[in-house]
Amino acid sequence: MITREGMVEKRGVGHWFTHLGLIIGLLFIFFPIWLAFVASTVSQPEIVRPPMPLLPGDQFFENYRKALVSGVNAPVAWMMLNSLIMALGITIGKIVISLLSAFAIVYFKFPGRRLFFWLIFLTLMLPVEVRIVPTYEVVANFGMLNSYSGLIFPLIASATATFLFRQFFMTVPDELAEAARVDGARPMRFFWDILLPMSRTNIAALFVILFIYGWNQYLWPLLITTDPSMNTIVMGIKQMFPSGDDIADWPVIMATSILAMIPPVIVVISMQKLFIRGLVDSEK
């Protein structure tokens, strides 16, 4: 019998060992998440007298309600809103400015084009972690501490998206621009009616990657949001730990951790194809 598997993949014992190996790997990967979930459904006394249970308890609603409504320093619902605004701001901001400048670089010959290209190329090299102190000073001088614009703008200043769109525009057939020009279409008309619709998939793939990047930011929000009501959820978790010897409110902290991972997990799982595409694209 000829099967698609050919002769390399054998059914039978080896097959089950493969599954077994993968399942062991999955258990290792999911154990921390499972434990966090269990901790978010039990009461504090069950945790502080170790070992804690390994199966969920009955405090799910109580813990999540407490986290979302009151939290420790600020309501977690509020922190999630801050994270959402920051993540969307970074994502949309980056995509918009990159689309515009990539369009200019590819479809125009203007003085300073090469210089501009190399200038943004340089930004690829320097993550925000490296220039935190001076960037902090700039944001402080603008009075943007504890503000959404302070959270968003410094993280938009990077060129990955510009390069991605440039790369893609270079593959768009010249005939399209030619036809547009012959028809007397203005450049922005061409951009809006032809280039943008063609870039839909690229934009969506980048959206997934950038949203996760924005949502998961830690160091930057930690520096510039001293006001608890401006905290994002990812940096706010650490702030929930008491200083000194007091015992942390683990059920609420773990509920917050679960809440912090839900939006990016939903984005990644539901848009898996776009996510993988975006991942591969942004590393090219």
């Binding site: 434990l35 990159s98 400048s101 320097l126 830690y218 978790i237 990016p264 993988i276």
Partner: protein
């Protein structure tokens, strides 16, 4: 690469690049320039004036045992994170590649940790190994092992390594799986007909053909370990105990914001800048080569 067909106009393209230029100039070039400038000065004790010291900050840094120790810590940390996460990912990818059906399900599940922020991953692992309430700590205690990463530097390093590598497995897995699936089945089957066992096939065919992916991941993972693990370190150990887990990026933060030593922090930024620059060049060199394949 140039487009043959371009539009006419000078003001429109300048207007189009203006937003990115503005953001980049204000939040990137100006601060980066400041970092380089500040690295040449020492502020006086009252913070009123700056004294020019040339490369003094760098000399001081490179002769400072804490800073040199931080270099070693970063190297150890990056290598361990890279090897651990790539090893586990390769193991899982090889297994998933053997499946004809169902590898999609595993892939969906294995993507999860990618979405978990490093700082959140840090909290998850901290919870398991917490000295007072941690489940793993408790079971280790039952086995007679006294886990305490708050006091023991090696245990602290182990914990931040595992937490950092954990979050990176998804990424490496996806790239390894794609690399494995790109290897033509016929090559592997030909070897199988010649009687090569799984391990021989892996060593002589799969591993060499996978090397571009492996090299790419090596560079990307080192960059990740250098810069994006700040959240893990900050949540789990805050660089302790006794700076045992103070990697370079953490030290820029600790000296600049906690210690308020701006000159030194700026000089450290410049050194990091050189390291990222070198890694980026390495990455691009490699990518250029890949394009010619």
């Amino acid at each position: 690469m140039e487009k043959r067909v371009t539009f006419k106009g000078i003001w429109l393209p300048l207007l189009l690049v203006l937003p990115q230029m503005l953001v980049t100039a204000v939040f990137f070039f100006y601060p980066a320039g400041q970092a380089i400038w500040q690295s040449l000065f020492i502020p006086d004790p009252f913070g009123l004036s700056m004294r020019y010291v040339g490369l003094g900050n760098f000399e001081y840094l490179l002769s400072n045992p804490y800073y040199r120790a931080s270099f070693v810590t970063t190297a150890v940390f990056s290598i361990l994170v890279t090897v651990l996460s790539m090893g586990v990912a390769l193991y899982l990818a090889v297994l998933a590649d053997r499946l004809i059906k169902g590898s999609g399900v595993y892939r969906t599940l294995l993507i999860w940790p990618y979405a978990v922020a490093p700082a959140v991953a840090g909290v998850l692992w901290l919870f398991m190994f917490n000295t007072r309430v941690g489940v793993v700590t408790w079971y280790l205690g039952v086995l007679g092992y006294d886990w305490n990463h708050v006091l023991n530097g090696e245990e602290a390093m182990g914990l931040v390594v595992v937490a950092s590598a954990w979050g990176r497995i998804s990424y490496n897995f996806l790239f390894f799986l794609a690399g494995l699936q790109a290897i033509p089945r016929s090559v592997i089957e030909a070897a199988a007909i010649d009687g090569a066992r799984f391990w021989t096939r892996f060593r002589t065919i799969v591993w060499p053909l996978l090397s571009p992916t492996t090299f790419f991941l090596l560079v990307v993972n080192i960059v990740y370990a250098f810069f994006e693990t700040f959240g893990v370190i900050h949540t789990i150990t805050s660089g302790g105990p006794q700076q045992a887990t103070t990697i370079l990026v953490y030290k820029v933060y600790a000296d600049g914001f906690v210690g308020q030593d701006l000159g030194s922090s700026a000089a450290q930024s410049v050194i990091l800048l050189l390291i990222v620059g070198a890694l980026t060049v390495l990455q691009f060199k490699y990518i250029e080569r890949r394009v010619h394949y």
